[in-house]
C-alpha cells in the first residue's frame, strides 16, 4: 500500500468514526443542556458558587457571567505564573515575566493557547495542571455555553430568557468534557504518553552522556487540549512530541477528539430547534469544507513543491516518520479549521500552498467545524448572512428557523464577521510598518510576511498554532497578540448573545411557500459559497502577498 492510499484510508476511518458517534453524542449533549435535573455534585457546586442554576438569564446577564468568569480566569492565571517561583511542585522553575504571563493568561482563557513560551523550560506542574489545563476545560465549556444560548435564541420565542450561564458552564465541564477527557487520557497513556508528577528526570544515553526531561501530566492535558479545541501542549513541539502523541493510533485519536464535539454540536442544534434536518444542513456545510481542505492539503503535501522539499524528495521537513505526510495533513487541516492550534507537524515548513491552506482555514472564522461552541455559533452567523443574501436575490424579508432576520439582526451578524478580519489586517499591517517587529521573522521575503500574518490570524481567531519561526516572545508580540486574542474572543460573543436575545424575543413567523428551505442541499451550497466568497474577498490581498506568492513562485 502506498502512502497516499493509506492517508485516504485514515481519512475514511476518521469520517466513519465521526459519522457513527455524532448522532448519539449530539443528542446526549442536547439532553445535557435541556435537562431539568441537577446531579448531586452539581448542587454542591452551585451552593459553593452561590448561584441558583434555575434562574433564567436575559442576554446581558448571560454576557456578564461570561465576562466576569473570563476576567477572573485571566487574573488568576496571571498571578499563578507570576508566583510560580515560590509555588511548591513547580520543579523549581522561576516566575514568568509580566508580558509573557499576560499573553499566556489571555491565550488560555480565550481558548486560543498561543504559546510564546517554551513549555519544557517554563511551566511547572502547578501552573500547568491547576492553571493552564483548567482553562482548557472551562474556556471550552464557555464556548459551548454561548453556542447553546444562541441556539436557545432560535428555539424559544417571545421571551428574553437564554438559560443560566453557571448551569451551562458546570454541565458542559462535568457531564461532557470531564468523562471523555478522562477516558481518552488513559488510552493515550496506553499508547505511550507519559503521566506523572516527578521532577526533572535524568537517564543515560546509548552512546554515553546523559539526557534530561521533565515529568508532567502529559496525557491528561493532551486529552482535554484536543477535546476542548485548545491546543496548548506541555512540550514546545506540541503533538509532534512523542510524549504527547506517541503512535499513529494516538494521532488519529487526537484528531478525532478535536473534531468530535464541533461536528456533534450540529446534531445538538438540530434537536434543540426541533428539526434534526436543519442540523444536517449545517453539518453538511462543515463537512464539505473540511473534506475539501483536507483533500487539497494532501495533494499539495504529497506533491511537495518548493526548492528545499524537491531537494529532499518529499515534504518531511517538520513532520514525524510515524505520522507521515498523510496523518500530518489531516491533523494540520483539522487543527486550523477548528480553534485548536495543536500541531503534529510544523506548518511553517509545509509547501507554500499547504501553509496557505492552514491560514485560510483560520480565516474562514474557524467554522468548519470550528472550535467547541465557537464553531457552531460562527457557522450560524454565516447562515444568517446566507439567508440574508438569498433574501436580497428574491426580494423577501429573510428568515431563518422561523425568525425574521431584520435590520438589528443583520447589524449584529455583520459586526460579528467584521471583528476578526479587522484585527488580523490592522495588527499585521502595524507590525510590518513599524521598524522593530519585523526583526522577529525567521524567514525572509513572502514567507517572513506569512509568519506575521499567520500570528495575528491565529491570535484573532483564537487558534493558537503558528509559523513558529517567528520570535513571538517580544513585548510587541506578547502584548498585541494578547489584545487580538481578547477582542477576537469576546467581541464576537457580545454580538452572538445580543443576537440570541433579539431572536428569542421574536414571535416565530410561519413558513410559507416562499420561505427559503434551509434544511435542503441548495442552502448548504449557498452557505458554502457565501463563506468562501466573503473570506476570499476579505483576505485575498494579504494571502497574495504571503502564501500565494510563495506557493506560485
Amino acid at each position: 500500500m502506498g502512502p497516499v492510499l493509506a492517508g485516504v484510508l485514515q481519512l475514511l476511518a476518521l469520517t466513519g468514526a465521526l459519522a457513527l458517534v455524532h448522532i448519539p453524542f449530539g443528542t446526549c449533549m442536547a439532553r445535557v443542556y435541556s435537562s431539568k435535573k441537577h446531579l448531586r455534585v452539581e448542587k454542591w457546586i452551585y451552593k459553593g458558587i452561590g448561584a441558583d442554576p434555575d434562574t433564567e438569564m436575559a442576554w446581558p446577564a448571560y454576557l456578564r457571567g461570561v465576562l466576569a468568569f473570563s476576567l477572573v480566569g485571566v487574573l488568576f492565571l496571571y498571578l499563578l505564573q507570576r508566583l510560580q517561583g515560590v509555588l511548591p511542585g513547580s520543579m523549581g522553575f522561576s516566575s514568568v515575566n509580566p508580558a509573557q504571563s499576560f499573553n499566556t493568561a489571555v491565550s488560555f482563557v480565550t481558548n486560543t493557547n498561543w504559546q510564546s513560551y517554551y513549555g519544557e523550560q517554563s511551566m511547572g506542574h502547578v501552573v500547568q495542571t491547576a492553571g493552564l489545563a483548567v482553562q482548557n476545560f472551562v474556556s471550552a465549556a464557555v464556548g459551548m455555553a454561548v453556542a447553546v444560548a444562541l441556539v436557545r435564541g432560535f428555539a424559544r420565542s417571545r421571551t428574553g430568557e437564554l438559560g443560566n450561564f453557571w448551569s451551562d458552564l458546570v454541565r458542559g465541564t462535568l457531564r461532557i468534557l470531564l468523562p471523555i477527557a478522562a477516558l481518552a487520557a488513559v488510552v493515550l497513556v496506553a499508547c505511550g504518553a507519559i503521566q506523572n508528577f516527578s521532577g526533572v528526570h535524568e537517564v543515560g544515553q546509548f552512546m554515553g552522556g546523559r539526557q534530561q526531561w521533565g515529568g508532567g501530566a502529559y496525557a491528561s492535558t493532551e486529552a482535554i487540549k484536543e477535546l476542548g479545541t485548545n491546543g496548548g501542549g506541555l512540550a514546545n513541539a506540541n503533538s509532534a512530541h512523542p510524549f504527547e502523541n506517541p503512535t499513529p493510533f494516538s494521532n488519529l485519536l487526537e484528531i478525532f477528539l478535536i473534531l468530535v464535539i464541533p461536528f456533534s454540536l450540529t446534531r445538538t442544534f438540530g434537536v434543540l430547534v426541533g428539526s434534526v434536518r436543519q442540523g444536517y444542513a449545517i453539518l453538511a456545510t462543515m463537512f464539505t469544507i473540511w473534506l475539501g481542505f483536507t483533500a487539497l492539503m494532501m495533494w499539495t503535501e504529497f506533491a511537495h513543491h518548493g526548492p528545499a522539499l524537491q531537494a529532499a524528495g518529499g515534504a518531511m521537513e517538520g513532520k514525524e516518520v510515524r505520522f507521515g505526510v498523510g496523518g500530518s495533513s489531516i491533523f494540520a487541516v483539522s487543527t486550523t479549521l477548528t480553534s485548536t492550534g495543536a500541531v503534529d507537524s510544523f506548518h511553517s515548513s509545509f509547501t507554500g500552498l499547504g501553509g496557505g491552506i492552514t491560514m485560510l482555514g483560520m480565516m474562514l472564522g474557524e467554522i468548519a467545524p470550528g472550535g467547541v461552541g465557537s464553531g457552531l455559533y460562527g457557522m450560524l452567523i454565516m447562515a444568517v448572512i446566507a439567508v440574508f443574501i438569498a433574501g436580497l436575490m428574491v426580494g423577501r424579508t429573510p428568515e431563518y428557523l422561523g425568525k425574521k432576520i431584520g435590520g438589528r439582526e443583520m447589524k449584529l451578524a455583520a459586526c460579528y464577521i467584521l471583528v476578526t478580519p479587522a484585527l488580523v489586517l490592522v495588527f499585521t499591517a502595524a507590525s510590518m510598518a513599524l521598524p522593530t517587529p519585523p526583526h522577529s521573522m525567521l524567514n525572509s521575503g513572502a514567507h517572513g510576511f506569512s509568519e506575521v500574518l499567520y500570528a495575528f490570524t491565529s491570535a484573532a481567531n483564537n487558534n493558537g498554532s503558528a509559523f513558529a519561526g517567528l520570535n513571538a516572545n517580544t513585548d510587541w508580540f506578547n502584548t498585541m497578540t494578547g489584545f487580538a486574542m481578547l477582542l477576537g474572543r469576546f467581541l464576537p460573543m457580545v454580538f452572538v448573545l445580543a443576537l440570541a436575545g433579539s431572536l428569542a424575543g421574536q414571535q416565530p413567523v410561519p413558513a410559507t411557500a416562499g420561505t427559503l428551505r434551509t434544511e435542503k442541499p441548495l442552502f448548504t451550497g449557498l452557505l458554502v459559497g457565501a463563506i468562501l466568497i466573503i473570506t476570499g474577498l476579505t483576505y485575498f490581498p494579504a494571502l497574495a502577498l504571503g502564501p500565494l506568492a510563495e506557493g506560485l513562485a
Binding site: A13, A185, Q205, A311, E550
Partner: protein
C-alpha cells in the same frame, strides 16, 4: 451607583468561587485520578518508556537520540532541537522544528549537505549509494527533533555500512532491520518505521554475541 458596584462585586465573587471549585475538579482531582490509573495500569509507559541495555537505562524508546557513531544506524537530523535558556541549572531538551520554509535557501543547503553526507557515509566498497536512493526522512529534521524512528528505506540504505563497520554479513544486518520494522497500525495507520534506539541496542547485542 453603589448598587451596581455591589452587583459587580457579587458577580465577580461568584465567578471566582466558580473558578476555584472547577479548579479543584479539573485541575487537581482529574489529573491525579488519571495519574493514579496510569501508574497502576501502565507504569512503564506513564514514566517515559525507558529502555535498558545490559541492565542500564539508555534512554526512552520514544525519544530519539543524536550522536551515534557510524558503526550504528543514524537517526534523522534535528536542526530545530534546543537546550533550555531558562532555569539553567537543568540541561533540558527543548523539542522543536527548524520552521524553515519550503523555499528557504538555508533549508535547501541543510538538505543538500545531509544528502551528500548520507551518500558518502553509506557508500562502501562494492556498494554505491546514489543520491536518488536517499529517502526524504534521512535529510530533513522532524517536527519534534526527537523523532525516534526512521523509515525502513533509510534503515535499509544503511545496512551495507553497518555490516562493514561491524564485520557482520549483510544478510544478518538486513534481517535485523526487517525484524525491527514496524508496519502500519492495522495496515493503514501512519507509516512503516524502524525505532533507531531499539535497533542499535539489538545491533550491539548481536556484535557482542559473535
Amino acid at each position: 451607583m453603589n448598587n451596581s458596584l455591589l452587583r459587580t462585586t457579587r458577580l465577580l465573587g461568584a465567578a471566582l468561587r466558580a473558578l476555584l471549585v472547577l479548579t479543584v475538579l479539573t485541575g487537581i482531582l482529574y489529573p491525579l485520578t488519571v495519574t493514579g490509573v496510569a501508574q497502576a495500569l501502565f507504569p512503564g509507559k506513564a514514566n517515559g518508556s525507558e529502555t535498558e541495555a545490559d541492565g542500564k537505562v539508555v534512554g526512552s524508546s520514544l525519544i530519539g537520540q543524536q550522536g551515534y557513531s557510524l558503526r550504528y544506524f543514524q537517526p534523522r537530523p534535528a536542526h530545530g532541537l534546543g537546550q533550555n535558556s531558562l532555569n539553567t541549572r537543568y540541561r533540558l531538551i527543548l523539542s522543536g522544528a527548524t520552521n524553515l520554509a519550503a523555499d528557504s535557501k538555508e533549508l535547501t543547503r541543510q538538505v543538500e549537505a545531509a544528502k551528500a553526507a548520507v551518500v558518502k557515509d553509506n557508500s562502501v566498497p562494492g556498494h554505491r549509494v546514489r543520491p536518488s536512493d536517499v529517502p526524504a526522512d534521512a535529510v530533513t529534521s522532524s517536527g519534534s527533533g526527537l523523532d525516534p524512528d526512521i523509515s525502513p528505506a533509510y534503515a535499509r540504505l544503511q545496512v551495507h555500512r553497518v555490516a562493514a563497520r561491524n564485520g557482520l554479513p549483510v544478510t544478518v544486518v538486513d534481517k535485523l532491520v526487517e525484524d525491527h520494522t514496524t508496519g502500519r497500525t492495522l495496515g493503514f495507520l501512519g507509516e512503516p518505521r524502524v525505532n533507531v534506539l531499539e535497533l542499535n541496542i539489538a545491533l550491539r547485542d548481536l556484535v557482542a554475541k559473535r
